[in-house]
Symmetry: C2
Subunit: 351 residues, 2 copies
DNA sequence: CCTACCTTGTGTATCGTTACACAAGCTGTG
DNA sequence: CACAGCTTGTGTAACGATACACAAGGTAGG
């Protein structure tokens, strides 16, 4: 496509022959230029240019050297959604930053939900893995562990052989829920999916333990803690589950339950995106926030700040960077701890 | 980290010895299981499990097979920003979709702006490249062409050896600018950066040819076409250049020029993100849209629809998919042409 | 003038796999 | 029963590069 496809890629041996030097001299010209005298180096470069030699074959080099030159990122989601979830992209930006610092590429391992996903993990030419939040029963986590390469899981699940990075979601949920539910009588949670099936809908009396996504589970537990501490019964808390982390989906789900006879007066959303979708629906339904409806989000995005949303601040980008550093065996350089969180009080809730 | 790091990765030969079969039998067990009888296959799998053999070494396999198993994406930006630019992520989602369909990984080539970036391209273990919009003088494009691998450039620049995918930005800009500028007296463009230096600021009498980003250049030309067709002089059109495609930056830049003595009464923004940032600033300044200020965007995102923004609709995701298909030599499967565009009229402009 | 040392170029073995050709055993058929 | 044809297992030779050890020549110091 780019060049004449009929002519195969030249090899180092051909360049060596053309430059009348040994193969090793060509190799050194690329890998350790100082090892080669100026005139010889020039002759090699000239021959390489003449033959259209693009430099050492990356596959051969990495086989011989024993390093792949890339960090693998496994997204527990279909590849496509990874780039559409704003939380995932913030996290990836952090991973990317560290990779760039090491001159490494970033290989996104394509996950489709098919059984062959575990093969993809085994086949990935990488030096280590970062796993983005997935469900406890996702087979890619054992597959990652089985490669024997350094790995880190972010968000969940725990695996005995793989280090883990996440904030204390339960404690944070408890704190933010206390704000949302302060004077609530009809509380509700706007939740991430419970499991990989990603069934959406409104549930009552849901046992948090049902959720196989650790993040979802812990946050539900945190809400339960807060509600029960305020003297409520968990049975009273409805959980509206979104299949995806998108404002759009929260909007349509909320449009339905806000119109119902038993509309909530407080909603704790698991992300700012979901919260903002809900607020859009509330606006259309003529409900005032926080007057008719207290709302909280999660992540403290720019949009949340603009909308005056009470939320949990966490730095996903720093968490991504930390994961990559752990995989690469690099010392942490941040002054702030990436797994800290902080409650941000704004106008969408009010005591 | 994941396993005992002291014990090196077992090889196929060791598994073969343990299972008392030849190396080839082990290889076939993984690559073509049907080629091996059931009992033998079981013996091999058992030996592999016992030794902790994670399957064929990806590097060795790809060297031998001549395929890397991954598609390279080159982002003309520092890696970190790629995931923060909503346009880039939409595009990437399209590329990712096609990769997943082929069982390929997606390798993001880290670009930092340093001269060594071209080495990264040469060293990437990939089967082809997709280049996301960059400037005409970016050395990564020649570097990609030099690899001899199939490649496609999206958005710009043109390179003689590399196929090119983009919409007719000039024509689209002409169309949308005609709406924005219909009854304008103090027109303005809210622009992407002109070149890789990404200098921000307000310019007058800017020659579009100065812009080395093709997308920026063509859209400026389209605006000039429209304004001159309406009898104006290009000198009258101010160009506010943002360093990044973010609402936040548009907001702060707009806050300054909307407060000036010569505030614009029509602004054509090069993305919905920029337009929405501007509208936020306009709202704070007490300006009515379109009463005091006509605004147009670009891309037709959900947020633009929600905000009633006149915009140019294009499908970046489909364009990403098409790029990947071209690189992989796959026939296009979409019924709609990914490089079509459409003017979407909403309330932010009015004749 | 001889030895030690640095610079620079050269073979050879090897990284871990798979393509290919071949051989042995078994089945079925005319 | 001979022979074709399928199944299943086995060696050998690459794929394209680099680590390592070594050799030849130059130079500097005693």
């Amino acid at each position: 496509m780019a060049n004449d496809p009929s002519r195969p890629r030249p090899t180092m041996a051909e360049v060596a022959r053309a430059a009348k030097v040994s193969v090793m001299t060509v190799s050194y010209t690329y890998a350790q230029p100082d090892r080669v005298s100026e005139p010889t180096r020039a002759r090699v470069r000239e021959a390489a240019a003449r033959l259209g030699y693009p430099g050492p074959h990356p596959g051969a080099r990495s086989l011989r050297r024993g390093r792949a030159g890339s960090l693998g990122v496994v997204l527990g989601e279909h590849l496509t959604y990874a780039f559409e979830d704003p939380q995932a992209t913030r996290f990836l930006a952090g991973v990317a930053e560290v990779c760039a610092g090491h001159g490494l590429g970033l290989t996104i391992v394509p996950i489709t939900g098919a059984p062959s996903d575990t093969d993809r993990v085994a086949e990935a030419a990488v030096d280590g893995f970062v796993v983005w939040t997935t469900s406890d029963d996702d087979p890619v986590v054992p597959a990652v562990a089985a490669t024997g390469l350094p790995a880190v899981v972010h968000g969940g699940p725990h695996h005995r052989d793989v280090p883990f990075v996440a904030i204390d979601d339960r404690a944070a949920a408890r704190a933010v829920a206390a704000e949302a539910l302060a004077s609530a009588r009809r509380p509700m949670v706007l939740s991430f999916p419970l499991d990989r099936a990603r069934t959406s809908g409104v549930r009552t009396g849901l046992d948090p333990a049902e959720a196989t996504f650790r993040v979802t589970r812990e946050r539900l537990r945190g809400v339960r803690d807060a509600w029960e501490a305020a003297g409520g019964r968990w049975q009273q808390v409805r959980v509206a589950v979104c299949a995806r982390n998108s404002a759009c989906e929260a909007d349509s789900l909320a449009t339905a339950f806000l119109a119902g006879p038993d509309a909530p007066d407080a909603v704790m959303a698991m992300s700012d995106e979901l919260a903002l979708g809900l607020m859009r629906a509330a606006g259309r339904a003529g409900l005032a926030v926080p007057g008719d409806l207290a709302v909280t989000g999660w992540d403290d995005t720019d949009a949340a700040a603009a909308a005056g949303l009470t939320t949990v601040a966490q730095n996903l980008r720093a968490q991504g960077a930390r994961c990559a550093q752990l995989v690469l065996g690099e010392e942490a350089t941040d002054e702030t701890d990436p797994i800290e969180w902080r409650l941000v009080l704004r106008d969408s809730t009010r005591r």
